[in-house]
């Protein structure tokens, strides 16, 4: 086969053809994957919600409330879980940037009386083997059933009531701060949504 000459027209045509083919095939694959990607994202959110909230039968992802608060830079997501007509709990995304390696994002599920049902870690960059232990059941267990109005979310070192992770006090402190933030937003916003009948 003869090699194509380096004429201007040849160069333009060949690059053009390659770009068109590449663009079209990417568009095609995008069409195929965009559905599963969206579905997967929602599924993961629902799975996290199922873990932190008591049993519910509505679709909290659909009735998400975006709350603008001065406690956080971006608006905060709040999910209300219902069983029949009753509010059974609320999940709030709490975050803190004071983790050992920056942002920690958690989902905190509250029962309607304000006590913590369960917590899930959504995003973190902590030290593997030390700070990442905040995902372990053993650590999260101490928060379950506690009401932050009477349970101090600070680590014992700061005169709080949370047993810090070994070698990861900073992570523990940030985790408590994120939980506190979720609680504050829940108290401020959650109580108003409760009285609203819909």
């Amino acid at each position: 086969m003869a090699k194509k000459k380096d004429t201007f027209i040849n160069m333009v045509v060949s690059l053009f053809v390659i770009t068109i083919v590449a663009g079209l095939s990417l568009g095609f694959v995008n069409e195929l994957t965009v559905g599963p990607i969206q579905k997967g994202k929602i599924e993961r959110k629902i799975n996290a919600l199922k873990l932190v909230l008591p049993e519910f039968d509505n679709n909290p992802v659909e009735d998400v409330k975006m709350i603008k608060s001065d406690l956080a830079k971006d608006s905060v997501e709040m999910y209300v879980a219902k069983k029949g007509e009753n509010n059974v709990g609320t999940a709030v995304i709490g975050s803190s940037e004071k983790g050992f390696s920056g942002l920690i994002k958690i989902m905190v599920g509250f029962k309607s009386d304000g006590s913590i049902n369960n917590i899930q870690v959504l995003e973190q960059k902590e030290t593997p083997g030390l700070g990442t232990k905040m995902k372990d059941d053993k650590f999260i267990e101490q928060f379950r059933g506690k009401n932050p109005s009477e349970f101090n979310l600070k680590p014992t070192k700061d005169l709080g009531e949370v047993d810090a992770l070994t070698g990861a006090t900073i992570t523990t402190r940030a985790f408590g701060e994120a939980t506190q933030m979720a609680y504050d937003i829940f108290m401020k916003e959650g109580s108003t949504t409760k009285t609203k009948k819909d």
């Binding site: 663009g23 990417l26 995008n30 830079k73 971006d74 050992f100 390696s101 920056g102 900073i170």
Partner: protein, 191 residues
């Protein structure tokens, strides 16, 4: 204050080479002399800043409004490749001395993953803005330069060291990079 945190974060805490592993190829490749590593750092500072500015605008004003985010990788790499070519041509015309200093490094930068990496990372920053993205690129290229120059000055001394045969060359360089990275690990938790 926010900008100081970005600067310290990018240079020390999350150093692009030593803790994010971007730009390892030039880090290992052009670090045998301090003088060449200074030249390379200059070229990276130059290209990374312009490239991040260009890709950020491309993403904000064309890809997102048109719903074409999935073309991000392909458009970014083309923009960077084209930019590097353009910078090379312009430098040659406008400032021959600068071209003399940076010229040889420019073609290497297209495949420097630090440039594409920072361009992509800049999109994911909180409350991102063009100014912040550009500042982020500058901070990261300073981090790149710091790591590269430190590493090169250690390597210059290493040439005199008497090493076991198996450790010579690549392995000892990697080991030194590991120790340097260990030192930078001490900065974690600073911001």
């Amino acid at each position: 204050m926010e900008y100081i945190i970005i600067l310290i974060g990018a240079v020390f805490v999350n150093n692009i080479v030593l803790s994010q592993f971007l730009g390892i190829c030039p880090f290992l490749g052009v670090s045998n002399k301090v003088s060449t590593s200074v030249g390379m750092s200059g070229a990276v500072l130059f290209v990374m800043t312009i490239a991040t500015m260009a890709t950020y605008m491309l993403h904000e004003f064309i890809l997102v409004p048109a719903g074409l985010e999935y073309l991000r990788t392909i458009t970014f790499i083309l923009v960077i490749a084209a930019l590097v070519q353009m910078v090379e041509i312009i430098l040659k015309k406008v400032s021959p001395p600068l071209y003399q200093a940076l010229g040889v490094f420019l073609p290497l930068i297209t495949t420097n993953c630090a440039v594409l990496g920072v361009a992509i990372l800049a999109l994911g920053m909180e409350n991102a803005s063009l100014l912040k993205a550009v500042f982020f690129a500058v901070a990261n290229s300073i981090g790149f330069g710091l790591a590269l120059i430190l590493f090169a000055s250690i390597r210059e001394h290493l040439e005199l060291a008497d090493l076991p045969k198996g450790m010579k060359g690549v392995p000892i360089n990697l080991l030194v990079a590991g120790l340097l990275s260990l030192a930078f690990l001490g900065f974690t938790g600073l911001v």
